[in-house]
Structures are given as structure tokens and as C-alpha cells.
Symmetry: C2
Subunit: 130 residues, 2 copies
Amino acid sequence: MSMQTKRLKVLEQPCCAPGAPPLRPEIAEGLARRFKALSDPTRVAIVNRLAGADEVCVCDFTLRLQLSQPTVSHHLRVLREAGLIEVSRKRGTWVFYRLVPEAVEQLAFALGGAPTPEGVLATAERTVAW
Amino acid sequence: MSMQTKRLKVLEQPCCAPGAPPLRPEIAEGLARRFKALSDPTRVAIVNRLAGADEVCVCDFTLRLQLSQPTVSHHLRVLREAGLIEVSRKRGTWVFYRLVPEAVEQLAFALGGAPTPEGVLATAERTVAW
DNA sequence: CGTTTGCATCGACATTTATCAATGTATCAG
DNA sequence: CTGATACATTGATAAATGTCGATGCAAACG
């Protein structure tokens, strides 16, 4: 057993979909902390970009996003400390980040989303009937 | 055709699950705005309570939450303006709020959660295998 | 009518947050 | 070793946010 024990600190129960059971305060706090990591458009864009690739170089973000390099670094830190992303690799002076799919899944599950079969996909043909 | 045309302003595509397509900036902003509504423990607790009942009186929140009445009213306003909750009924001086399930589903879907068949349930036996 | 009750709004305040310039720190190229 | 590059950290600042007391307002009660 290599040190690969997956730690899942918080929240494995739905909270916000109809029928959800009452939440203990600390669970609500943990959820709020993760939602806060996604409460900024730049960070949503970062997560979205990471969702479309295996890993992305920080330099990619500093190029695309119209923000200073420290600001980008700040947003990456917030997402990292929320457990939504992690450093996947360092090559020379480059740093690559990747998504932590389990963390995103937990949030989706908390919101009542059924666990996706493969954790992948969910294409756009669910363009909603309304 | 009664006035029941459902308006779904924003975001009907996944954003943050592996394989998600690139997001237009305004979509990322709309998502961030809704996540921000859930970025506070009190508001998560409110949504959670609303998820467990058809409707809940404001007086119920002011009693349970350890906060002043104006503060509770503030949080309800934030959630309401985010489209996550709405006033369901007014009886005398009482005001009742209810969840807007479609709004929560949208967020779950954006995070890669498969659309729940009935919009209900998602029990706790998905206590994760880890 | 006046009073009470439940909730919203306003004004004030302390804390947090997003942002940038400046600086620190590895890593690579010469 | 020297310089350059990529990223992180620090410090500062303006804006946003959570909180509360005071006030406003509409509905019910007497």
C-alpha cells in the first residue's frame, strides 16, 4: 500500500436537492468552502479549461486570462486549497495543474446530480427541452 | 398555453467535469454568480432545509439560525436573486420560501452530475467506496 | 383607530477578497 | 557563476461581503 490513501474529508451526502436530509453545520461549512472556490468567473474558467485537458501549464493561464501573473497564481492557490485542482507535474520551471474529478463529483452529488457512470462526458445534447 | 414559459437564462452545458467543452465568459460569470450564492454556510443550510420540505416560513429560519433577523433576510435575498429559491406564499405576516429545483439541477449538471430521473432522492448509500 | 407581529430595507462597520507591483525562489541556458 | 525564465509569495489597496441595530411597512388583532 503506497501512500495513496484517498482522503475524502467532507460531504458525501446530497444537501440541496429535493429530499435531502438535514446537514450538520460542519458539512454545510465544508460545502460552502468549496462553492466559494467556484464563486469567481476566473476560477470557473480555470476549472473549465482543466476539464478539457489532462493537464494545463500555468503559463497557459497567464497567457489566456487577462490578468497579472500573481493574480492567476492566487486563483490557482484558492482552487488548490479547496481540493478542486492539484499540481500534476513540474518540468523545468513549468508547473502543470490537473483537475481532481472526485472533488467535482462530490459537489455535483451534493447538488443532487446522479453520479455519472464514467465520470466523463455528459455531452451537450442535454440542451434541455424547455 | 398559460404563462408558464420556463425561462432558463444561463448555462445548460457542463463546465467543470472532465470532457467539458470550453465555456464562453458570460457563461462562466453566470455560473460563478450562482456558486457565490452557495458560498456561505448559512445559505447552504437554508437551501438544505428548503430541500427537505415543500416550503419553509422565514420565521423558521430566524428561529433556527443563530443570526439576527436582518441577516437572515439578507441571505434569503441573495439566494432569491440567484434564482435558487423563491417566495412560495404569503399568509398574513408570514412569508414562505421554496426551493427552485431547476436551478439546483442546472448547477449539478454543470458540475457533471447526470440529470436525476425524478429530481428527487439520491440517497446516502452512495457513501463512496474509498 | 392604535398596537403588535413578521419581514424587508437602510446605514454603519469589520472582515474578506480580487487585483497589482515588487520581490523571492527554483530551474535551466550560457 | 551569471542571467533569464516561470511561478510563488508579500504588501498594499479598492471593492465586496457578512453582520447588526434602527427603521419602514403591511397585515392582523383588539
